[in-house]
């Protein structure tokens, strides 16, 4: 169709200048002169998180989407430079509401890497259970947000109710519903009792049963399929080019999962599958995460049954507890006994971690959080009890580019569907 352009004496409103929009110069003027509409989605919009997406529309089709993140930037990296290694644990699990254990785990693993200590097997399994519970929780949370963006309020309430049981499980394990602060260098803060393990196992059955109903009413609902199918498709090549991570990369056909590539925790001892889809559209991104819930459930059940057969206690590394030294001494004296770590950190937290210093160097760990790869780099000068520099790269920040690129060519109504299919979480990306 031939386009007719008319020069109109229209200027964008003066207020636009004072908004300090991160747009190329002249974009506003240009779009005001053309038949294009620039609309701001967010940060006070019902269908955006704490961020602004500047959408340039031609008719109903998005020609350009420019992100304006940073509304919930808290300067975590800088804050971390002034805190003890121990004190950074509650700070660094706060980027993502529901994903505390994975974020906590990544940071703690960086410290363990620096100290070169081994974690007791029981603690590894408890960590794995916690990480997978948080993964399920985050996926349910994202499913809820996606469905309310599609106008499906039942699909919003059900996952949140299921997530409530996971909050309860986290509370029974650690004492807090979301920010557990449970994983500490060398282990976990305290042992998990048999009744709590039983509860966690029951929760997996509950979620499995309820997911079947949820599948009928939302996941396989024809309306949902129509809204998500073939929307914002990213090819395998583009996915790698834009640096997508986590389930969104796997939805494009790339078989990459940090848990499989660089196993940590107890993942290499459990049997599970990396969920991959080839389509790369919004529906695939959603379904990959739905299937990951099933995988996580299977991981949790295996871990629970292994933990049940394991003797209780010994959840903190003897290296941290200073028992190795004693044992060495005893060994020299001729007595040999199995070194066991304590089962509770109570009363000794300061003694273990208060004056923790890391050997000089740079320590990086990559962890598979629910929404993708989270990277921690600790730079230590070897003397101070605080990190010299701490780098956090969260999955949200990594896939923001791919998210914005995939929006091009979608319709305005798709913006929320794509947003939900990515599960974009501004506090996580802004750190």
């Amino acid at each position: 169709m031939k386009e007719i352009s008319v020069e109109l004496p229209v200027e964008p409103p003066v207020e636009v200048k004072s908004l300090f929009l991160p747009v190329p110069p002249g974009l506003m003027e240009e779009s005001y002169k053309k038949d294009e509409l620039v609309i701001f989605v967010g940060p006070q919009h019902g269908g955006s998180g704490h961020m602004r997406i500047i959408v340039r529309l031609k008719g109903d089709v998005i020609t350009e989407a420019i992100p304006d993140p940073g509304y919930v930037h808290r300067g975590m990296e800088k804050l971390a430079e002034n805190r003890l290694y121990l004190q950074n644990i509650p700070l660094l699990e706060r980027p993502a509401i529901m994903d505390c254990a994975n974020f906590n785990l990544g940071y703690v693993r960086a410290i363990e890497k620096a100290l070169d200590i081994e974690v007791p097997e029981r603690a590894e399994y408890i960590r794995t259970i916690l990480a997978e519970l948080c993964r399920i929780g985050t996926h349910l949370y994202d499913a809820g947000i996606l469905s309310v963006f599609l106008g499906h309020t039942t699909g919003f309430m059900w996952p949140f109710a299921m997530r409530e049981m996971i909050c309860e499980a986290l509370m029974r394990v650690s004492g807090a519903r979301i920010t557990a602060s449970y994983i500490v260098p060398g282990g976990v803060r305290r042992d998990v009792g048999r009744d709590v393990l039983e509860y966690i196992k029951e929760v997996t059955f509950f979620i499995e049963r309820k997911t079947k109903d949820f599948e009928k009413i939302f996941i396989m609902n024809p309306v949902t399929a129509a809204r998500l199918k073939d929307v914002a498709t990213i090819s395998k090549k583009d996915a790698i080019k834009y640096g997508l991570v986590g389930p969104f990369l796997r939805a494009c056909g790339v078989e990459y999962d940090t848990r499989a590539v660089e196993p940590y925790g107890a993942y290499d001892q459990l049997s599970w599958d990396v969920v991959v889809a080839d389509e790369g559209d919004s529906y695939a991104r959603f379904l990959v995460r739905v299937n990951e819930i099933a995988q996580s459930i299977s991981i949790i059940r295996q871990a629970v049954s292994i933990l049940r057969s394991m003797p209780e206690g010994n959840v903190i590394s003897p290296d941290i507890a200073g028992k190795k030294k004693k044992a060495k001494k005893k060994e020299e004296e001729g007595e040999e006994e199995e070194v066991k770590g304590p089962s509770d950190v109570r009363g000794k937290l300061y003694r273990y971690y208060g004056r923790l210093t890391l050997p000089p160097g740079e320590y990086t760990t990559v962890t598979e959080a629910a929404r993708g790869t989270v990277l921690y780099t600790i730079v230590s000068d070897g003397q101070s009890t605080v990190p010299y520099r701490l780098r956090v790269v969260t999955p949200g920040w990594l896939y923001l580019k791919g998210f914005m690129e995939s929006l091009k060519g979608c319709r305005l109504a798709d913006l929320q569907a794509v947003y939900g299919s990515f599960g974009y979480f501004p506090p996580e990306a802004d750190r």
């Binding site: 602060s181 499995e208 939302f218 609902n221 024809p222 399929a225 599958d273 991959v276 529906y283 009363g347």
Partner: protein, 175 residues
């Protein structure tokens, strides 16, 4: 080594669409007729909290040896040590800053800090949120409307909301 599970994204053809519509409406009707409520009617009921719940702090001055470790370990700088008339230093807690990580509880080698199950607290203003040592020692004013507590229990994957009688929450059970 984990395997690869490649999912097939279903393409909604006509019979599958009809089936999907029917199943969705059927599930909705099923829930309408036999509701599965999970709501706790706070404040009439209250969720039963686990024994290791991290609520507000309880402080025992007799056990405190003024070692400063809790103040030092506090990630949010919520604990400040203040000098008392007897020359010793005792902690004050600022609940405007506290994040309930309970590092202080785990730090204290003498067991002077303990957890309670209070989590829904209200302060009249910001200044009141700084609890000095005297205020910490005073038992808190409690107003409760709840008559019972609710515990989530599962039997064969089904949620049972078990109702318990009025629960004392001043003392967390762990110790």
């Amino acid at each position: 080594m984990p395997g690869i599970y490649r999912i097939k994204v279903p393409s909604p053809d006509f019979p599958r669409r009809v089936k999907g519509h029917l199943e969705a409406i059927g599930t909705g009707l099923k829930e309408l007729i036999v509701p599965n409520r999970v709501t706790t009617q706070y404040p009439r009921e209250r969720r039963k909290l686990s024994d290791n719940f991290r609520g507000m702090l309880q402080y025992d001055i007799d056990k405190c040896i003024s070692c400063f470790q809790c103040a030092f370990a506090c990630p949010a700088n919520a604990i400040v040590m203040k000098k008392a008339p007897n020359g010793k230093y005792y902690p004050c807690v600022n609940y405007a800053k506290c994040i309930f990580c309970h590092f202080c509880v785990d730090v204290c080698s003498k067991g002077a800090w303990k957890a309670s199950k209070f989590m829904d607290v209200a302060f009249p203003d910001m200044e009141e949120m700084l609890l000095t040592t005297e205020k910490l020692l005073r038992p808190p004013e409690v107003e409760r409307e709840d008559e019972r507590s609710v515990e989530y229990e599962f039997r064969a994957g089904k949620l049972i909301m078990k109702k318990h009688p009025f629960e004392d929450i001043t003392q967390a059970g762990k110790d």
